[in-house]
Symmetry: C2
Subunit: 146 residues, 2 copies
């Protein structure tokens, strides 16, 4: 958990190595066995040229970072905007990082607006976006529509 939440504060980063086994496990856990993820002979004949990880796997890493930083505040409710730029592949090492971009107060509720990105070992962005978390001590209030 972050002990101090202020603008510019970096969130802890995560490093994750992707193997075909990781992807197979994710397929089993999510129930998404699309051959682009799990069948190399199929995937090698597609424009991807081989299997790719599920896009949501990299978002899972982002969420893990957010949970480590914000705990229950993130787990209870949050918002996410994500732009998928590229696919993670077996053999890739992903690094997820983020920071508190700004703090905001709306209707007596405090929010931390964070930016995040997940890059591969060549520095290419796999997914980037924003995550918004309601901070503790705010009065309980549902997020309204954006």
């Amino acid at each position: 958990m972050l002990t101090e939440i202020r603008e510019g504060k970096t969130l802890g980063s995560l490093v994750k190595h992707i193997t075909q086994e990781t992807i197979n496990l994710y397929a089993e856990a999510s129930g998404d066995f699309n051959p682009i993820h799990v069948d190399e002979s199929f995937a090698s004949g597609t424009p991807f040229g081989g299997t790719i990880a599920h896009g949501m796997l990299s978002l899972a890493y982002v969420s893990e970072m957010m949970t480590s930083a914000f705990g229950q505040s993130w787990l209870s409710a949050g918002r996410l905007r994500a732009r998928f730029k590229d696919s993670a592949r077996p053999g890739d090492t992903l690094t997820v990082g983020g920071k508190v971009d700004c703090l905001e107060q709306r209707d007596g509720v405090s929010y931390a607006n964070c930016t995040f990105e997940c890059r591969n070992q060549r520095g290419e962005v796999i997914v980037a976006g924003e995550a918004i978390v309601r901070l503790p001590g705010s009065k309980k209030q549902e997020y309204g529509p954006e």
Copy 2:
């Protein structure tokens, strides 16, 4: 794959049953073993009152629906906005649905703006949001910043 993409077209829906085993598998696949997900004795002492599924698991189902509907167009690049409203728990049955909200053309590129939601068996929204996919036949172009 959708054979016809038009405004109002519903995307195929998915029904998924969540068990503690599903959550444990997801923890293994994502590497996120936070005790709120996998340790019932810990989780029962928190405001959640028991283990909860990883939020990204429900988004994985949304992504599976989008892949079924749009195939490579979704897998190559996409955008997602998600609002997490509640947690899925062991024993829950989640239904994911969505539709093409509107078609849009920007700089010669066609996009399908879709809305989605994932509800539990009581009709409570777990996560809702929007997913944007670039349609085939568009000239290749990276998504710019929002």
